[in-house]
Symmetry: C2
Subunit: 209 residues, 2 copies
């Protein structure tokens, strides 16, 4: 009967997760030591190990949070009516990621894309994480294929276009730009739209106007 409030426990857990995420975004999961995390969150080992069974559990918690965030944003995008064109949808998706997870590194760079690529590498190591990611990806792909069907219904593109392939391509653009932001920094969500508009404006020679 000397417990501290649930809010306190939740806040501590969040504090640990946030500090760990910062460390992991900086150095990756396996090049950051527990002592790095302990120093970052300014807690003792005893405290952290009360909230997480170990490093693996901490990593799993971060991976899950990242995957849930990304999946949620993709699905939110798929629910928009009417579906925005890709040059609007894709930068908006990136912008929503920044809104949802705006935290930055010490150098001011956006943390979340770095975390994303770290999660990608980690999922290739863990069958359970890989399964979670695959499941989410399947759903997102189906959702974004429905967007493409919406384009067709609106007469914006031919009915015989491959909706699933196009969904994959749009997701690839999001992933690719996330990687570029992680690697090169900057806030170029806007130029993403310009690039996509340009890409959509390409007309193979000897085809209509």
């Amino acid at each position: 009967m000397a417990r501290v409030s649930q809010e306190h426990l939740d806040a501590r857990r969040r504090q640990i997760l946030d500090g760990a995420a910062l460390c992991f975004a900086r150095n990756g999961f396996h090049a950051t030591s527990m002592q790095d995390v302990l120093k970052e969150v300014d807690l003792s080992a005893g405290a952290v190990y009360r909230y997480f069974g170990g490093k693996e559990e901490l990593i799993a918690a971060i991976v899950t949070e990242v995957l849930d965030t990304v999946r949620g944003i993709y699905e939110q995008a798929a629910r928009e009516t009417p579906p925005p064109t890709p040059d609007v949808l894709i930068p908006r998706t990136l912008a929503r990621m920044r809104e949802a997870r705006p935290a930055t590194l010490d150098n001011g760079e956006w943390m979340f894309p770095r975390l994303m690529i770290q999660v990608w590498t980690e999922t290739t190591r863990s069958p359970e994480m890989a399964a979670t990611l695959s499941e989410g990806y399947q759903n997102v792909r189906a959702g974004w294929a429905r967007i493409v069907e919406g384009y067709k219904d609106a007469g914006m593109m031919p009915r015989d276009a491959d909706a699933d392939a196009m969904a994959r391509a749009m997701i690839a653009v999001v992933q690719g730009f996330a990687a570029q932001i992680a690697l090169f920094g900057g806030t170029f969500e806007e130029s993403v739209g310009d690039g996509l508009r340009a890409l959509m404006a390409v007309r193979p020679p000897g085809q209509d106007a």
Copy 2:
């Protein structure tokens, strides 16, 4: 004067690099131990340490090889005349990566994309690697922007389109599909073309035909 032939030395070095690449693609740089590498290449510690000063040097060699390979392929694509449309250029770029580095994991999955995402995470840790990557990226972006200018010259797209933004977008597609192949496997270079063709066929409502 009982040296072994230079070919032998080169072959040993390559054997070590290939084995290390396999380990790194499996588990990432920092979750694979030197002993993992030693076992994979079936050499003693003394032998490996004769060719590489240590783990860091081994990692740096792998990173450099991956970056050089990718950069070479991007630049080869930029030299094609006449420049193929994106729906041809991009899957061809991925196909050339597979030709250049066809090695597979134990499960038959293509190794190189996994190595690519590992390299991405590693470059965020090392300023020198980050500088190398940034420099290569700048050049590739400029090269691919020249492709876009070629499209304009051929009357395939409006002159006022943002060539640099479009170059970024095309590179993002390559990167995104590399990530998808690394994460989900499969050989869907072909559907990449379908997806891009569909994307390029989108016409915003209330705009031309």
